[in-house]
Symmetry: C2
Subunit: 533 residues, 2 copies
């Protein structure tokens, strides 16, 4: 499994250890998952091997608007760090092959909980059931395996021991050399409220495979999905004779956030962060810490030409509607040259309107809005000062009458209105920007990525020269481009083992899932030399 | 040559592309080198393919105390950066195989100048002729080759192009994917006055092999050695149809230093720095820059036990005397338990005194002091408040009567006197610290490395348990340990292709020659996707 994963992450062809079809996990699995999820509601989460007198929780389902009423152990930062350090010594001494084996086993254990995690994700983030299952289940596990595999490979890059012999005329100097990968120290993984598992697993597993203990600090409104994962990891560690506190849930409350105290703790050496840019910039500038961030970005669509503009509009309508635009990969700004602007704008509007009102597709694609903040931003989008091409409004969800939903608002603006589109408007808000020509579209998309960061760029053109130009310009600001996606493939999707998620080169984040640096920066090569003769 | 270098840097056994014996380069080479060096004195350095109206220079030989009277082009930062950016586009588009081939050819060109560079190094840094030759010649070229090889390997880690096919029931989604290693931007390599070539070549070549242009900012008192190298690189670039301004000398003067202006230039993306900690800390905290530093450290010797303490003392005497302690790898603090303190202290004192006064060895080992600052620090060492076991004094150099020299001062102090030994005392100053026992020695050496940084640690013990304990404790603060070195091997030496130079894990520096990060952090992987069906 590890060798396949190492190979896949270098071949970068299609690969999945964990199939994304629910049926691959048995007919009964979804229902038992739902039963298990419901059994957890309304009481303390008792699976963790962590204890305290202070149990709290504040999660509310975006579908039912009811509190989950699950409480989690709230443990002070000092106690978490001390337990992590105490657990770390034996773990650091295990060969990476053994660490990787135990961690891989933990993925298999997590697999048994995929559907509980799916329901937990759905009722904390507002993702649809299918996205909750895929993103927090197989896709997250594949990303975790990718991180384990990269660590497994990189920690075996150099020989543990060798004889070095330097010829000195007729004799020689002989040294016995040992190379060790020394873990940097306690890791901290700060999760977000929209992708509590997918965005946290790479950092958790990268810390652990490189020999570091890890504290998992979830968003107080999205704890359960990752708590199930942490508990499963702890059980597997324990079963393998390791200290389960190598991986601890570091839950806190909105009233008393521990994030800064954990970040600034002198013994926290590694920080993985997913979330807003303001806090992300603070984390990046902390002295003496090794930091991996994914922050906000402004993703562009450049539309130049297409064989079938209806197919383009339908593809993009799905991309912007999927989880109501709450993906870090969702497109926001559509740059459309005036020669085709009216045609394209109308097609996009019609496609979004059709999708949203489609009784089979609409509510399921949109899911629910994770927070009131996003909901209010979506409702207020009309007052951003741009023309409203399509107004967003709550959408009926047949299964959950109280679900917090809002369909996409489509605004129309002009190239010079950067005060409107020159920032992330997280949620179901799309801006169509009328440009002079594709050259201006490219220039603006590039500038957005350079100044505000970008994780994706979708582009449509039938002209190879324009395609090359878009690739060149967007790549120069470290933004990948997806060309001419139609049908069942969307710019939002980054496949494990093939697509790097975030490049690390623009303000959207300083790290990437999972390039070599993502594991290399978590340990230090140290070489000892012993003279033999 | 590249394949051998890639293999060597992973095997980490003894390997040298460029032999360290002067004789390997022909009988005539040293003398022609001296002739060429002398011909450069007293006039503008005219080999660079850079021009300006402003030519200045201020180098003074530490051996003759005479100005070299060579002037260099002084070009404003903006002009350097613009020329670099203009040169960069075509270079970035070359396949890494071609870049690596051209850069390897430039090493062969530099080889032709090894002895000029040796004399230039000698008369700027004060290194002995042999050290000047080895450090600035073969050893530096080997480190450069190591960086090229790492880039050559890492940029070919992922396929440039592949077909990704995701099965979707009876059909599939097919994408054409392209992976590109996008260079980060203009590089800046800030050199130091003591190792102007050895410490600069890895950063220069790491920048160039990863597709970045580079500005080489020497210390104003040690320009010539690296100027010869830059000129050679420019000639080879030009001969291969590349813009020679991909690699520019960014000389300045002590009166008008350009270092901060270059560091803070918005288009400078990469900075390699060797030098003092104050400026190094400033560089490390510059927002938005990728920074590689080697700063000051406090290197320890832990003496517990030895089969032959005389051999130990002789080995250490050479280590501390070599280039008068002006190596970043030179030992400073000797931690010696009281049970053997007097015996060891006397042996070290006697060995240093014998080496210094040895007419065949003394002056040649010590070389000259690069600067008045170091000279005065050495002379003032007596007034540091510690007992003087051996006073330092100028040493006669038969070849250069005016050479600025000073033999090592050996001071004796106690474990609690951290105000004396708890900082770098750059130059020929050694502190013997009397400790309660080896456990205290280890604790103090560890604390010094953790707080002040360390690049090396020499340890002597015949007890395997003590050896393991020293390795464990020093490695935990990311400091490598060299055990029981006697004879012709010294803790100061870090061999290319085998020893990592600086671990990057403690305050002595944040980077390492040449681990994978040293090249990986200079470019960004970006993947484009084009839908095929």
């Amino acid at each position: 499994m590890l060798d396949n994963a190492v190979k896949a992450s270098h071949d970068r062809t299609f690969y999945a250890q964990y199939p994304e079809h629910p049926k691959a996990y048995g007919e009964e699995a979804p229902q038992s998952g739902e039963v298990a999820f419901k059994a957890m509601l309304g009481r303390p989460f008792d699976r963790l091997l962590q204890d305290t007198d202070n149990w709290q929780g504040e999660e509310v389902s975006p579908y039912t608007m009811e509190p989950l009423a699950i409480s989690y152990p709230i443990i002070p930062p000092d106690a978490l760090v001390m337990a992590a350090q105490s657990a770390a010594k034996a773990w650091a001494k295990l060969p990476v092959t053994e660490r990787a084996a135990i961690l891989t086993e933990s993925l298999e254990a997590i697999k048994q909980h995929f559907f509980e995690i799916a329901y937990a994700t759905m009722h904390t983030t507002g993702q649809s059931f299918m996205m909750s299952f895929q993103a927090s289940g197989p896709h997250a596990n594949d990303r975790a395996l990718e991180a384990i595999a990269m660590g497994y490979r990189e920690l075996q890059r150099y020989p543990e021991q060798l004889t070095w012999e330097k010829p000195m005329g007729k004799s020689s100097i002989v040294l016995d050399k040992q190379f060790k990968a020394i873990p940097k120290g306690v890791g901290l993984v700060i999760g977000c409220s929209t992708f509590p598992v997918w965005n946290s697993l790479p950092g958790i597993y990268a810390d652990l495979v490189t020999g570091n203990p890890v504290l998992v600090k979830p968003h107080p409104r999205a704890v359960l999905p990752i708590a199930i994962v942490v508990a499963a990891i702890q059980q597997v560690l324990k079963a393998n004779g390791q200290d389960p506190l190598l991986c601890q849930l570091a839950a806190d409350t909105s009233e008393h956030l521990n994030t800064k105290a954990l970040c600034e703790h002198p013994d926290v050496a590694l920080i993985d962060y997913t979330g807003g840019s303001a806090f992300g910039n603070y984390v990046e500038q902390l002295p003496g810490k090794t930091v991996f961030t994914e922050k906000a970005g402004v993703n562009s669509v450049i539309i130049d030409s297409a064989k079938d503009m209806d197919a383009v509009a339908q593809n993009l309508a799905f991309s912007v509607s999927l989880y109501s635009g709450q993906m870090c990969t969702a497109p926001q700004n559509f740059f459309i040259p005036e020669r085709i602007y009216d045609e394209v704008a109308n097609k996009v509007r019609d496609a979004v309107a059709a999708l949203v009102s489609n009784p089979k597709m609409g509510a399921g694609t949109l899911g629910a809005l994770q927070s009131d903040v996003t909901f209010n931003r979506a409702l207020d989008a009309r007052s951003l000062g741009a023309e409203v091409l399509l107004g967003g409004a709550p959408v009926t969800n047949e299964e959950f009458a109280k679900a917090r939903t809002c369909s996409p608002t489509i605004l129309e603006t002009t190239a010079d209105a950067q005060e409107v589109y020159g920032r992330e408007l997280f949620g179901p808000i799309i801006l169509l920007v009328r440009t002079k020509d594709t050259a201006e579209s490219i220039r603006l998309a590039r500038e957005m990525a350079r100044k505000h960061g970008a994780i994706t760029c979708a582009a449509y053109t039938t002209d190879p020269a324009v395609q090359a130009e878009i690739a060149e310009e967007m790549n120069s600001v470290f933004t990948p481009v997806s060309f001419n996606f139609t049908g069942f493939i969307w710019v939002n999707q980054h496949a494990a083992f093939s697509d790097f998620h975030v490049t690390g080169g623009n303000p959207a984040g300083n790290a990437s899932f999972t390039n070599p640096e993502f594991v290399l920066r978590r340990f230090v090569w140290v070489g000892n030399r012993v003279q033999v003769s």
